[in-house]
Symmetry: C2
Subunit: 379 residues, 2 copies
């Protein structure tokens, strides 16, 4: 009996000790299938190497229809470490991150990326664990014309690229802060913004010290390269959040995140992939990468002594197609750019095949949830 | 640089070719952690061997609280092949399956299993692909006193075991059929029944030829061993279905299924595990096993020639805890009994830690879904 046939993916647990075969079985069972790669020009590869930037690229298979032309686009996901230590002057930290991101966009542009998304609050360290207001609130910026938005507008126009920029937003009239993703269109204008719908209260992640739940709902943005939405970080644990983006028409949902290995690493491959499957759309799961050390000690609500490190942001960003096939992940430790060529027609094709939308009985659940909320108050 | 640290689970893709190390990393990244096993008496092991029944057993770690005593129970999941070919007389097929299941329950009883669940419509071949009404409708039985229910009542009482019996039900007054799971309590009485909420219309699985969507909602059954619910087969693709069982108080949700490798194998490890994580309960994913060949040819809506085989039911049943830690799966090809010792207190502990229930904003989604349904009609 072929052990791969008998045990499937579990066979790899013994195969690693004794049976170095079956790579194809592992790909099939773990990721759906092995994907082909894209041609990345050699000069781009060597620029990336000089920047110590990992590039991974994949091409999802696609099916030609008779009436609709394919809608093949390239999606890019960026994970990057902070550049200066968080004890550096704020302006220095911002400038260094801007410079890092500029060279990554140049590389993405030369790889013909059409939609690029960065990690959660990419223009600052993930300092919310400290619960200190200063200097971290100084990183907040306007979603219309903050420094990073102004920078990205230029680059979006230069490469005709849609850029999703997750920032710490400060609304300039009210001075209230939000965890926001700004969608910059391929002509360099701000197409709109969306905010984090679910705010964690777990360990180092009680971000409600700084910002509250979004009141903007579940907007979907119509770009030249498809209908996109952004589910920020902890919202990936909430299937209803993923669902509403799908019902509102999203073909790709980005999930810019910041999460550490001790908290969530074994959950990471599950949630965004499940969302792609159940909602018949593509998901792009992006995690922060690196270890960030803060100038003053803080506690984490876990009974352990005060410390200055957050833990390791494990990167591992990946992309999933509506049929559940996924790319491998970027590195756990390095800056990286993940590029996938996808055909947006796959969303409807998979929906026609599996029929989860047709069979999901929304009227039943709208009623059940309404009754539940009325009956149980603030459950 | 340690390649396991840099690449995580993706490293196993290369490790299988060149680096047979890192088993612990694979367990951690793939399943959350490596679980300990239970002591299974030697005489039970040899009985199981004679029956060609695989036994896997695991013990999930648990945390002692100060006020609540632990609620440790043993859950069992059974996957079994049909015994006689589907061309045999109906009564013969049923009898052979009953005998097979009796010996499996005896083994489970000697392993102190408290709640045992079988695969979807375990007392018949999964003949719905044929779209023939005869003889398959003859397998349908009453959920109160059908032959398999009467058998299991005796065994439930004998071992003080809660038994979940997924059957093809025929309601005796209306003569209507349903895809049903009967919950037989540990005293041998029928505690209640629940029915399949979502009926597939995909390839060989258009079961609406035989039965329609349940109108019984999302019942949760209060047993001496915890509050349980049953999400039958295709319902695992529907997060709202999983959600309602959780809101109604389930601590364990069983997912008796019948699905084949070409359709869903790479989705199988994702969906029931995601449900456990997001709803803070245990899930028990059970798949039929074996290849079933039918007497008359049928087509599968995939443009391929008529054929008599359904494809391979790949077993791989597994159990997931609320923190996402899961057992390995049973075999892809053999009959099997999977036993896990769990502490139901883990549900609330994980909920307190992660807080998905507290942060899920149900009032927002009840409103959004209601508006969506009103606006878009029968989407």
């Amino acid at each position: 009996m072929d052990p791969w046939n008998e045990h499937g993916v579990d066979h790899l647990l013994t195969a690693l000790e004794s049976d170095p075969r079956g790579l194809e079985s592992v790909y099939r069972l773990l990721y759906g299938q092995k994907l082909g790669s894209l041609v990345i020009p050699n000069e781009v590869r060597s620029i990336a190497e000089n920047e110590d930037l990992e590039i991974q690229s994949y091409s999802f298979p696609y099916v030609i229809e008779e009436l609709r032309p394919p809608r093949r686009i390239r999606v890019g996901a960026v994970q990057n470490k902070i550049v200066c230590p968080p004890s550096s002057p704020v302006a220095e930290q911002i400038l260094a991150l801007h410079n890092r991101v500029k060279s990554i966009i140049d590389i993405a542009g030369q790889c013909s990326v059409n939609i690029l998304c960065f990690q959660e609050t990419w223009a600052m360290p993930f300092a919310f664990c400290t619960r200190e207001k200063m200097p971290w609130c100084e990183f907040a910026e306007s979603a219309e014309d903050g420094p990073s938005i102004c920078l990205l507008k230029q680059y979006a126009k230069k490469y005709s690229m849609v850029i999703i920029s997750p920032i710490l937003e400060r609304e300039p009239i009210s001075n209230v802060m939000w965890n926001t993703a700004v969608i910059i269109n391929s002509d360099g204008s701000v197409l709109g913004k969306t905010r984090k719908n679910h705010i964690p209260r777990v360990g180092d992640f009680n971000e409600s010290t700084y910002y509250m739940e979004s009141q903007l709902g579940h907007p979907v943005f119509d770009t030249p390269y498809g209908r996109i939405a952004v589910n920020i970080c902890y919202g990936r644990h909430h299937p209803l959040n993923w669902l509403m983006y799908g019902l509102n028409g999203a073909e790709i949902v980005f999930n810019p995140s910041a999460t550490v290995d001790s908290l969530s690493e074994s959950l990471w491959p599950i949630e965004a992939r499940n969302a792609a499957i159940t909602n018949h759309y593509f998901t792009v799961a992006i995690n922060r990468v690196g270890t960030e050390s803060f100038p003053r000690e803080f506690t984490s609500g876990d009974g352990k002594p005060a410390h200055k490190e957050f833990g390791h942001f494990f990167g591992s960003s990946y992309i999933t197609a509506p049929d559940g096939v996924r790319t491998p992940g970027l590195s756990r430790t390095r800056n990286g750019l993940l590029i996938a060529e996808i055909d947006l027609n796959a969303c409807r094709q998979v929906q026609d095949h599996w029929g989860f939308r047709m069979t999901q009985r929304l009227e039943l659940y709208a009623k059940s949830l309404t009754e539940y909320v009325q009956k149980s108050g603030n459950h």
